[in-house]
């Protein structure tokens, strides 16, 4: 998992935009020549269109080759099976590979592991992010420094975070032994504690983005509303639950979707800290880790494609839910 996945932040908005655009009728752009009769004008419009396509060409070619082609080829890959013996060519099996792959213990376990992981990461990182954002919303001295600190983990990479926490969780180095915490086997090799450990790393990493999103949401809540409630005699506690949280609900929901997608894409920490030889690996075998292993170790692109498609459908579902709620919000606002 990389911070690059934070791109899904944008993706959410874009999905909404796309839906709005798609819903809109192809309204005539001014009149691009319907009533215009002259040859010269048509030629000018043709030139303008030619320029437009030329400008779009680089992006469209890249999208075609590296996004849409692989996306559609995935469906083809699903129909082919690669024999476990190296060197033999893949052969067509049609839909027969799909069900066995999805129902295999390895995949269902992986899915369950991922869901547990998501459930660990999402609520905690969002509650912490909201708490920090609310705390940092007061106009006090030195707040810029605190905000900078709280945002900081957004720039951490999964590799850096893994190295940092790998040391913190080391059974012989530093804190844990000093505090007398001596799990055996060590946290990262324990079937019970390995997944929560990876979750802690992910929470820390996501905290920055969670804080940034919640802060931006809080800033969009009009101060007058809270001040009005204050004048009406609402206690701080009431204000928080009756005003801030409801007003912030679109932001919170947005953050839930983003963090869920983020958590579903977890990979790096497992790859770096657990690896293939670890005793805990079956309990930390999150979806993407499973896909990569299926591709590179089992050498079975067909099965990997099936799992990737399941992952895609999960994310698509989340995005659609997000869009639905966004639409409701839009109409609510009108």
């Amino acid at each position: 998992m990389t911070v690059g996945d934070a791109g899904s932040v944008g993706a959410e908005a874009l999905a909404g935009e796309a839906a709005l655009l798609a819903a809109e009728h192809e309204a005539p752009e001014r009149d691009t020549g319907s009533g215009s009769r002259s040859h010269g004008l048509r030629q000018r419009l043709r030139k303008e269109a030619a320029l437009a396509y030329a400008l779009l060409l680089p992006a469209l070619v890249l999208f075609g080759v590296f996004s849409f082609y692989p996306f559609f080829r995935n469906f083809k890959l699903m129909l082919y099976q690669t024999p476990p013996v190296p060197g033999l060519p893949a052969h067509y099996v049609g839909l027969h590979q799909i069900w066995p792959t999805i129902s295999s213990t390895q995949f269902t376990q992986s899915l369950v592991t991922t869901v547990i992981f998501v459930v660990l990461v999402v609520p905690i990182s969002l509650i912490l992010g909201l708490a920090l954002a609310v705390a940092a919303h007061r106009k006090l001295k030195g707040m810029a420094v605190y905000r900078m600190i709280f945002s900081s983990t957004v720039v951490s990479s999964v590799a850096v975070a893994s190295v940092v926490f790998g040391t913190l969780l080391n059974p012989v180095v530093g804190l844990l032994p000093w505090l007398g915490i001596n799990p055996n086997p060590p946290a990262l090799e324990s079937t019970t504690w390995a997944l929560p450990s990876v979750a802690v790393i992910t929470i820390w990493q996501f905290l920055g983005l969670s804080f940034i999103i919640m802060s931006a949401g809080l800033q969009s809540v009009p101060d007058e509303l809270l001040e009005a409630a204050r004048i009406d005699g609402a206690t701080a506690w009431t204000r928080f639950w009756r005003m801030t949280v409801p007003l912030l609900s679109p932001t919170i929901f947005f953050a839930v979707v983003v963090s869920t997608i983020y958590a579903f894409q977890a990979f790096g920490a497992v790859d770096i800290l657990i690896g293939n030889t670890n005793a805990a690996r079956l309990h930390t075998n999150v979806l993407i880790y499973n896909i990569v292993n299926t591709l590179q170790i089992d050498n079975n692109p067909g099965a990997a494609a099936i799992m990737a498609t399941v992952l895609f459908l999960i994310m698509l579902g989340l995005t659609i839910i997000q869009m639905r709620l966004l639409e409701r919000r839009v109409s609510y606002a009108r």
Partner: protein
């Protein structure tokens, strides 16, 4: 410098026709104001000259060249936008220089021209500022400087004063008139403000719903409106319009020729003989138009009315009345005249001056009689009625 011609110019946006068969001749050096309320097509007409909109039908020419298919950049026109369209990231000097950079003018000449344009508009000390650091009036002048620096064939100005406050507007109005007179560059000036139009235009073209209503000098436009729309649109308040019938009333002594009157339910206004002569035989349904300043309260006035509102403007007073037949009349009084009370029944008389009477056809709205000024179609082709002084 060049003349500009619209010849049946038409612009349609989907189902709506923004400019409908506009035929209009603007001679070289004239400042022509396109006047109309918002959405009347005046800005679209301007943009047709600029080439920012493409014609749906008809022709537009600049000089002797039909420019229908000519790229905006090759038309040699400069435009001042309502928003000024200054480039926010460039200094005043760079903004003024911007049009020259594309025209293969060498650097020294460019700078000389920028300096001259800036001095013409009193921007000499502001050359290094960015637009955001300027006041509205200063920005407006930068936009003008950018237009004149190129020495184009035609200036196009799209409501250039509408973002200025009232006092500055009066000042800048005079500045633009002076600048245009000095440069003698053909100018099309779009506005919705009739005061601006009356004070600035050599001629004014009034548009409504895409159609040209009348083009004439400010004076003719006011005194001889070509139709009821122009009559009501111009003037503040506009001309009073009363629907009635032309009736020949027999002379009291039973003589041969009676007096021609416009009669309404409960009232009858006799027309002066010179007016009557021109309209005899027309109608019978007509609209009588009288400007508020041509009406006065008079005990033996022919029109009875009830006073609804009295507006005191200082130098003058507007008395707004309803006639017995329900028509609304506005009487402009001088400040010293007796003001009627609200609810009072008054009698209203029309001045004897034949120029006070305007008669329009009730169906078409077109002016009747010998006073009928030139309509848009009649004047705009070929002959320039009342051109630049």
């Amino acid at each position: 410098m060049a003349q500009v011609n619209f010849d049946g110019a038409t612009k349609r946006f989907g189902d709506t026709t923004a400019v409908d068969h506009l035929t209009l001749h603007i001679p070289d050096g004239e400042l022509l104001v396109l006047l109309g309320s918002s959405g009347c097509g005046k800005t679209t007409a301007l943009r047709l000259v600029a080439g920012l909109e493409d014609l749906s039908d008809g022709d537009v020419s600049i000089g002797d060249r039909i420019v229908n298919d000519v790229d905006p950049k090759d038309r040699d026109v400069a435009m001042v936008f309502q928003s000024y369209a200054l480039y926010p990231h460039l200094t005043v000097a760079k903004n003024i220089e911007f049009p020259l950079r594309q025209r293969h003018v060498d650097k020294e000449e460019r700078q000389a021209k920028v300096k001259r344009a800036a001095e013409t508009l009193g921007l000499g000390t502001l050359l290094d500022r960015k637009p955001a650091q300027l006041s509205g009036g200063q920005r407006q002048r930068v936009a003008l400087a950018r237009a004149i620096v190129r020495e184009p064939l035609v200036f196009l100005m799209d409501e250039p004063l509408s973002n200025l406050d009232a006092a500055l507007r009066v000042q800048t109005r005079a500045d633009i008139v002076e600048l245009q007179a000095r440069l003698a560059t053909t100018t099309l000036y779009v506005t919705h403000d009739q005061v601006e139009a009356m004070t600035m235009g050599h001629r004014i073209a009034v548009m409504s719903e895409g159609k040209l209503q009348q083009v004439a000098t400010p004076e003719d436009l006011y005194n001889k409106p070509a139709n009821a729309f122009v009559a009501h649109f111009l003037g503040s308040p506009g001309m009073n319009l009363l629907e009635g019938m032309l009736v020949e009333s027999g002379a009291p002594d039973g003589g041969a020729a009676g007096t021609l009157c416009v009669s309404f339910p409960g009232a009858s206004v006799p027309l002066p003989p010179s007016v009557a002569q021109g309209v005899r035989g027309a109608g019978p349904d007509v609209v009588l138009g009288v400007r508020p300043e041509s009406l006065r309260l008079s005990e033996n006035g022919p029109i009875a009315a009830t006073v609804i509102i009295v507006e005191i403007l200082g130098a003058e007073t507007h008395v707004i009345c309803h006639t017995d037949s329900g028509a609304r009349l506005i009487v402009r009084q001088a400040a010293h005249e007796r003001r009627p009370a609200i609810g009072e029944t008054v009698h209203i008389a029309v001045d004897a001056d034949p120029g006070a009477y305007h008669l329009f056809d009730a169906t078409t709205g077109v002016r009747l009689g010998e006073h009928a000024g030139a309509t848009g179609g009649a004047t705009s082709v070929g002959t320039a009625v009342g051109t630049a002084p």
